[in-house]
Symmetry: C2
Subunit: 470 residues, 2 copies
């Protein structure tokens, strides 16, 4: 600060008064900041000493199990979620009705590579993509056309595609540091591949699994059919199988692929979002959500996707109770239904918020795995982002100071129209896509302390938002 | 920048000239910084696409296996290290002779809790601490005195300790975010517990395993006998066993503990540090070391401790070859022998550096596991630390921007007397002490991409040090 030598007496008095105010404000600010750091430390210590997130996850994975929308597991998970938040004495626990798709995998899928030479068939690890139609009981067998992109498919055109099985084989880019970015750069093949191939007369689609790992585990995930095109069956094959097939297509003539799947879509089913809240003491009408999605794929246990997000959300709210802190604003743990194949729960939540004229100032979602935390991505205007980024020093003590503009989450996404600031919990990304949407996504893959650090960090973010608003 | 309105013409000219210089310097700086970021990206892309670190680690863990100082495995590891750096065509690969301790575990240890009531004995998972004497073929059985600290032991005194087995049971503090700090706060029990207990006439020592995890896996690690006191046998018991024993000591009278170990120390053995270097093109006499330790404990495979450090060190240097970059200063990968129970290799390396009048400007060590990288700790003067911290932006792109004052490493430690700046590679700490010094420290616990990110980051640090010096 530079002080002019020509200032008048009045200026000097004003300035002194200004400095005094500044000092007082600064002092108050420092006090508040110190206090926030002290409270943050309490959240982390309580969680690391007496946390319930890991035992909750154990129950959800090992007692409830997987919970695809419309399944028995999903129904059990709704009951579980409601009961546990009631046990923890949240002020209000309630369900929100939502109709969800009901896709079933049917019998274990079968697939193999058939070689023209009469050489041995090669059994392939594969699984139906979520939402796929079945193949009929005889399965499908056809020649294979390998492509690396939707553009390459389009360039090949009908003459090269008709009657064949299209094999999408563009791997995740391993040079990207965030595996999430790598996934984002490849997942169009899984999501749109079937309908795009059907436009050129393909009879089926197989997709290289969406993972940076080379192994024999197929990764499912949702496809989206274009209603203007015939629905053809689509499966994911393991990365090892994809490499084997690709090699054979170069080395041998007349390689065909066979697969059989009995998956189908049944009528929609009534399901629920599960919501638990603690009422704010000063501004109860300002609501802050913390959530994960309760549904999962039907392979594995939906541990990292997104059991961890659910238990971290419940835990972030429970920690207020455990620490005897009443939030100034209302905080809500929301277990969204049907993120994986419809986001019906997320859409319903936003609709009801609007219908009920609720004011959601912020929503945090954890849906990137329960790995060691890095920080939060923020979707809001410049000022809102700056407000949150100013708390960086508090999170840096816990190695989760990566606060900046970013992605919120699929389930909280529909709240954006109401001006809600969206925040995505950011764990380390290296291990997530090893197990994402597979039979390997089980409780054992979750590390207790990593899970707890995330839960505590989400609790602290909830605390700061509930103290200061946006 | 505020510009005075009363500046003279001379001032204005000077200022313009100054601004021009500033712009030129800034431009050069920006160019250099941009170029460094481009080179950094090359290190990471090359490693993530074509890295050798994971396959090297596979060989070291699965073909060589564990490699305790003086063992056959250690001798094989020396050969392996030399051969692989020769294969990668480093300019010079050589061995440094060093005499190392030769402690052997002998037969699998046996231990159990004996209850006075005649109730069932409880088998305990335990292992000898490295360097411990054996119990003799009959083993030792005695009453147990539990303490939480060396201070508590001292307060109990001879009358309460004599003839008994001292049980050190202070856990790692779970509220510390860095498990390394938690380890540091508990490890005095393992390191000094035996001799301290012997001072009061104890006949043996059992120590709670040094881990935040609750399981049935005992963790070994070095103890240090005080030459003024009789050597008594010391073992680590699993955290589950420690909790069981602690509970029984409260609930029942006359609980005794039995253990039998045939470990012993044999005469010192000739072994080696393995060194591979690429000569600097401009200042070959300025040497920068990157290293890990080649020895390991005899349980597990020494994968994270410290196979990962060894292959990351080799890889960091190999990447210069792969990218066709000749460093301006000499870079050296050093595989130190005997970190675990003597640091003889580290001491010998520093001695030879001094004897040969070598100028080591910096040394980097990776010995905290091959987990997802966070950054580097730096041990140097303010200016040196500031020089390195100025590169933070380059590392932030790879989530490893935590650069600051910190710990270097045990093996490079003795170089401090020569004014060498020491740097410790910092991976995430959450999982390390789950497997540290146990049978669980195996190749499967290492994640390929996490290992590679660390290797590439170490390569980039080596590059920056070799370009700019300190």
């Amino acid at each position: 600060m530079m002080i002019s030598k020509t200032s008048t007496k009045f200026n000097r008095i004003e300035m002194r008064f200004g400095l005094l105010s500044l000092l007082l404000v600064s002092w108050a600010f420092v006090q508040a900041a110190d206090n926030d750091s002290i409270v943050a430390r309490k959240f982390f210590s309580e969680e690391l000493l007496n946390g319930k997130s890991y035992e909750m996850l154990d129950e959800l994975c090992n007692k409830v199990g997987h919970r695809l929308s419309g399944s028995e597991g999903a129904a059990k998970a709704v009951e579980w979620g409601k009961k546990i938040m009631e046990q923890y004495k949240f002020d209000r626990v309630f369900l929100q009705e939502v109709m969800v798709p009901h896709w079933v995998r049917g019998e274990k899928e079968v697939g193999n590579i058939r070689r023209a030479s009469g050489a041995k068939q090669i059994k392939v690890e594969l699984c139906a993509l979520g939402g796929s139609v079945g193949t009929g009981k005889d399965g499908i067998v056809a020649e294979v056309v390998e492509v690396k992109s939707l553009e390459e498919l389009s360039a090949l055109g009908k003459s090269n595609i008709e009657g064949k099985i299209v094999f999408y084989n563009r791997p995740l880019d391993p040079t990207l540091i965030s595996t999430g970015h790598a996934y984002g750069g490849a997942v169009d093949q899984r999501r749109s591949g079937a309908s795009e191939a059907a436009k050129y007369g393909a009879v089926g689609v197989i997709v290289r699994s969406m993972t940076t790992k080379l192994d024999d585990v197929p990764h499912t995930g949702a496809l989206k059919y274009d209603s203007a095109v015939v629905m053809i069956p689509a499966a994911a094959i393991s990365t090892i199988a994809a490499n084997t097939l690709s090699k054979l297509l170069i080395e041998e003539q007349g390689v065909t692929f066979y697969f059989k799947m009995s998956c189908e879509t049944l009528p929609d089913v009534l399901s629920y979002n599960v919501v638990g809240e603690i009422k704010g003491s000063e501004k109860p009408d300002e609501i802050i959500v913390v959530g994960g999605h309760l549904d999962s794929w039907d392979l594995g246990q939906g541990a990292h996707d997104d059991g961890t997000g659910c238990v971290q959300a419940i835990e972030a709210v429970r920690l207020f109770r455990a620490l005897g802190i009443t939030p100034k604003r209302t905080i809500r743990a929301v277990l969204f239904m049907n993120e994986e194949n419809g986001i019906r729960g997320g859409k319903m939540y936003a609709k009801l918020a609007k219908d009920n004229k609720e004011n959601h100032i912020a929503a945090i979602e954890s849906d990137a795995g329960g790995f060691t935390p890095r920080g939060f991505g923020i979707k809001g205007d410049e000022k809102q982002v700056a407000t949150i980024v100013a708390w960086k020093h508090i999170f840096e003590d816990y190695n989760m100071g990566q606060l900046g503009k970013g992605w919120g989450g699929a389930d909280i996404g529909p709240l954006i129209d109401q001006g809600t600031v969206l925040m995505g919990f950011r764990p380390d990304t290296q291990r997530y896509f090893d197990i994402h949407h597979t039979r390997e996504d089980t409780f054992e893959k979750v590390h207790k302390r990593e899970l707890e650090l995330g839960a505590a960090g989400m609790g602290v973010m909830l605390y700061l938002l509930s103290e200061y608003g946006l």
